[in-house]
Symmetry: C2
Subunit: 207 residues, 2 copies
């Protein structure tokens, strides 16, 4: 299946700015995107980046600098179905979660993100369109129902965990061995499990 991977190649992950510089956030976002693309390929599917700017590498890129919802809906209008959409900030994802996402047979398959978002979709119905602005999980269920499309969900922690905030970085160190986890370790981050939920600390000084 062709799977679109929306990727902010311009100014990604602003909510990590308390921990990472602009250049570091771009590197870390690249590493997360690499992990997602590798999981899709490893599951036997065909990733295409839907990026706000050109991206070097072997993965095909569709460049569209408009807002996420507009860019995805335009790509959907041109796509042959079924098509998948998997966000680029899911560094815990492995091939098993992609298999489960693609393996469900509903017209619209949703992998909810923590906090009411939508982290991955498989679309088999021509009238379905996305709306990523605020509470998209419930919106996507409504849009599917209005289009008379059957809806399924995928129960996956690895698909649910999108990395947006400093608190999410602990999950990457706990549950990933991919490039994003390597990048964090190389940048001096390590787990701090003294509190209620795992956090990260960064080593200061010369590296």
């Amino acid at each position: 299946m062709r799977i679109l991977v929306p990727f902010d190649a311009t100014a990604p992950k602003s909510r990590l700015s308390s921990l990472l510089t602009d250049a570091e956030r771009r590197e870390f976002a690249d590493a997360m995107c690499h992990d997602v693309v590798a999981a899709i390929r490893s599951a036997g599917h065909d990733p295409t980046l839907l990026a706000t700017d050109n991206v070097d590498g072997e993965t095909p890129v569709l460049v569209d600098d408009r807002p996420l919802t507009t860019a995805v809906n335009d790509a959907l209008a041109d796509a042959s179905l079924p098509v998948g959409i998997v966000m680029a900030d899911l560094p815990l994802v492995r091939s098993g979660a992609i298999h489960r996402l693609v393996g469900r047979e509903d017209d619209v398959v949703i992998a909810p993100g923590l906090g009411g978002g939508t982290n991955a979709l498989v679309i088999r119905h021509p009238d379905f369109r996305v709306d990523y602005h605020g509470g998209s999980y419930r919106k996507h269920r409504s849009i599917a129902t209005e289009a008379d499309a059957s809806v399924g969900t995928v129960d996956s922690f690895r698909l649910a965990l999108d990395v947006d905030e400093p608190a999410d970085l602990g999950e990457v160190l706990l549950h990933s061995e991919g490039e994003a986890a390597d990048w964090l370790r190389d940048a001096g981050f390590s787990l701090d499990e003294t509190g209620d939920r795992a956090a990260v600390t960064r080593e200061t000084g010369d590296r």
Copy 2:
């Protein structure tokens, strides 16, 4: 399979005290526990509460008021294997997640919780013991490895989401139709999806 459900029947969910009174926290914890027990039964397994005090109802109860790790390890020493341990604060869990937990064949199966905890286990190795204090996911992997037990994990958002903090309540309203969700709605809580992640607000005034 027999599945132990550790349950704090005394003073549960202290981190929700900014939103709920003591009596409300006990009611809400009861409702979550009910949802977990119903999911275990619906999957065809046998729940036993491992509770800090007596609990009314149809589910068998082992009373042990010692700390969680001690109580679970004493129950494990007496249990015939395999045995499951599923926390009582997982109101998103349904039978499908229990099937996937029990369906893996490793000596120790772990369902990680958000933030490095352990929300569910299946134990088939006599030397495995638990240690729930701080970062238990990594500890349980180490303990299993030291016991020469094979380790598997279950990738489930519904098992990963334990309700500890106010931010977790939004997930209950988003993804559950069980008693815990009903309790929240009856108590005047509703979803607030205006921020980055879904939160809850509570209606004030007469109800």
